[in-house]
């Protein structure tokens, strides 16, 4: 083996990661401090782009809505995912089929999911979701078309697609729970609720940590579902950071401001991930 052998095997990956991950990363940092002017050359503006992001009303609204959406989707997916996992745990073949069916929203392309939900959400009184709301004695709602209901409607689609994913991770965690603890708690005469509270949930602690980490990385960057379901509308009520950045950067050509927005998003993601990892490490020590 020569000294260059490992580098030859690594070369394709290094080239691609450099070109499509690290170069864009560097360009984003650079652009965020410049006014980007095609053909004229970029002009150094210091923190001005960041200042604009931090004071612009649209940006502040988008940041707020991104956080609400991320928190709502994370909490909803984890709670419903846990419920699904508890209900569908087991080795019976019928259960396996039910789990597969429930998991389908996660594998279907987001673009497909968005089109299906746009139809289900059709805001007429006889639209599918309004009919179902009617059975429950509620509605009708404007769903994606109403300023009050649009963000919640987008969130519901995210939970619908995210909960089955969380379910699968929980199921993997449940498989690792020590069975003798169940037997012991049954022998102690503990009911279902005490068993879940004292045995199952504590054993799932690492799973919660994983799901929070994933949520931190994925939650803030939401783009495709919002872009396809509402594209930020109506009247900006579902605008999130990424849809705003996309519009600024690619439709209005304000690349510097868009880059500053991206950097803030990245910083928030990294901080959140580290915070989750940190609290996880501390939790393990105890």
């Amino acid at each position: 083996m020569t000294r260059t052998t490992p580098w030859l095997f690594l070369a394709p990956a290094l080239v691609l990661f450099a070109a499509f991950k690290f170069t864009p990363m560097w360009r984003a940092i650079e652009m965020s401090f410049h006014e980007v002017r095609p053909y004229l050359g970029d002009r150094w503006v210091g923190w001005a782009n960041y200042q604009q992001v931090a004071t612009d009303e649209d940006f502040l609204a988008a940041i707020g809505q991104t956080i609400v959406l991320a928190l709502g989707q994370t909490a909803g997916s984890i709670i419903i995912g846990l419920a699904l996992a508890l209900l569908l745990e087991g080795s019976a073949r019928q259960l396996w089929i039910v789990r597969t069916a429930v998991f389908l929203p996660t594998v279907a392309a987001m673009a497909v999911v968005a089109e299906v939900w746009r139809i289900l959400y059709y805001p007429a009184p006889d639209g599918t979701m309004n009919t179902i709301l009617g059975w429950l004695g509620a509605g009708p709602s404007q769903f994606l078309n109403g300023e009050d209901s649009s963000l919640l409607s987008v969130m519901a689609v995210g939970i619908w697609r995210g909960a089955p994913y969380d379910m699968m991770i929980f199921l993997a965690g449940l498989a690792g729970v020590d069975r003798t603890l169940y037997e012991a708690s049954a022998a102690d005469g503990a009911g279902i609720f005490r068993r879940i509270w004292h045995v199952t949930l504590p054993s799932l602690r690492p799973v919660f940590a994983i799901l929070f980490t994933l949520a931190a990385i994925r939650g803030l960057r939401v783009f495709t579902e919002v872009f396809l379901l509402t594209n930020g509308g109506p009247n900006g009520s579902t605008e999130v950071l990424m849809t705003l950045i996309y519009k600024l950067g690619l439709e209005r050509g304000e690349l510097g401001v868009a880059a500053a927005g991206s950097m803030i998003l990245l910083l928030a993601t990294v901080l959140l991930t580290l915070a989750v990892q940190f609290s996880r490490a501390r939790g393990q020590k105890r």
Partner: protein
């Protein structure tokens, strides 16, 4: 009660120990409801796309007057071209991604060299880097490389995918070094060892990164959106939005196209479910 006690408590809720007829009926009603909530909308898409649709406001779960008209109309709208583009992108992208990942993983898992940890860390760090965050500068890089307006622009960037490198590297670490040394004594070079000793043993991991890469590339939206300059380069998921907003097209075409965009990843998932689940848990554990 005695029977219930004898049966091992193998799940948290212990639903499988339910004995009363009503409780078991209730359990299956609940399961049916869950399937309806999560799979129902996609099933409705399947049924509706084969139905003569007059009402643009709702999907149907009950087939009536089955027809292929929606698909015929969709094919007149170039949907086959979009589907073909999607398959080119997913085929090319996946091949590149696998080739790049296994080659990098071999160096990272089986070799010791200065800089190993740094390279590993750099690749790992991109998992924390949401691709959406890089979208704007990535579009500039793509145009510098003349990749905008070409399917290559959707294929080449997906070659850099840390998840696959990581899964392969973890797996390759487990392969005993003795096998490699034996082959080396027989005079095999690195390429031979990589190709005919290590890779054949990695088949399970190849399945994992294959199915994961497939669904990930099929689901790509932002990258094709940045790259496509003309409908000629649309992938099928990308085309749905234009089909939707085309007044003349009608909902039938949208439904047929959406079904075609859904089936490949769903079929791939069902065919390779075990590998998918393994990837899901290992990927999640790695964060």
């Amino acid at each position: 009660m005695r029977a219930g006690r004898a049966e091992a408590l193998e799940t948290a809720l212990g639903l499988h120990t339910l004995r009363s007829r009503w409780a078991r009926l209730g359990k299956w009603v609940l399961y049916g409801l869950l399937v309806m909530v999560f799979a129902g909308p996609l099933l409705a898409l399947l049924v509706s796309s084969f139905t003569r649709v007059t009402d643009p406001t709702s999907l149907t779960l009950w087939p009536s007057e089955p027809t292929l008209d929606n698909f015929r109309a969709a094919f007149e709208r170039d949907v086959l071209l979009y589907l073909g583009n999607s398959f080119i992108v997913v085929g090319g992208g996946l091949l590149l991604q696998i080739a790049v990942s296994i080659s990098a993983a071999y160096a990272l898992a089986r070799k010791k060299f200065p800089g190993l940890r740094l390279v590993f860390l750099l690749i790992l760090s991109t998992m924390m880097l949401p691709e959406e965050v890089l979208a704007i500068p990535l579009s500039l890089v793509l145009s510098d490389l003349n990749l905008v307006g070409s399917l290559f622009g959707m294929i080449i960037p997906v070659g850099a995918w840390a998840f696959s490198v990581l899964v392969m590297a973890e797996f390759m670490k487990e392969i005993p070094m003795e096998l490699e040394e034996a082959a080396r004594l027989d005079g095999a070079g690195d390429l031979r060892i990589f190709w005919s000793v290590v890779l054949p043993l990695c088949r399970p991991a190849l399945g994992v990164i294959g199915i994961f890469g497939f669904t990930m590339i099929w689901d790509q939206y932002l990258l094709p959106l940045l790259v496509a300059t003309d409908a000629q380069q649309f992938t099928l998921p990308l085309a749905l939005r234009t089909l939707r907003s085309d007044e003349e097209v009608g909902i039938g075409v949208l439904l047929a196209s959406a079904l075609l965009a859904m089936l490949p990843s769903v079929i791939a998932f069902i065919a390779m479910q075990r590998q998918f689940m393994r990837g899901l848990t290992s990927g999640a554990v790695k964060g």
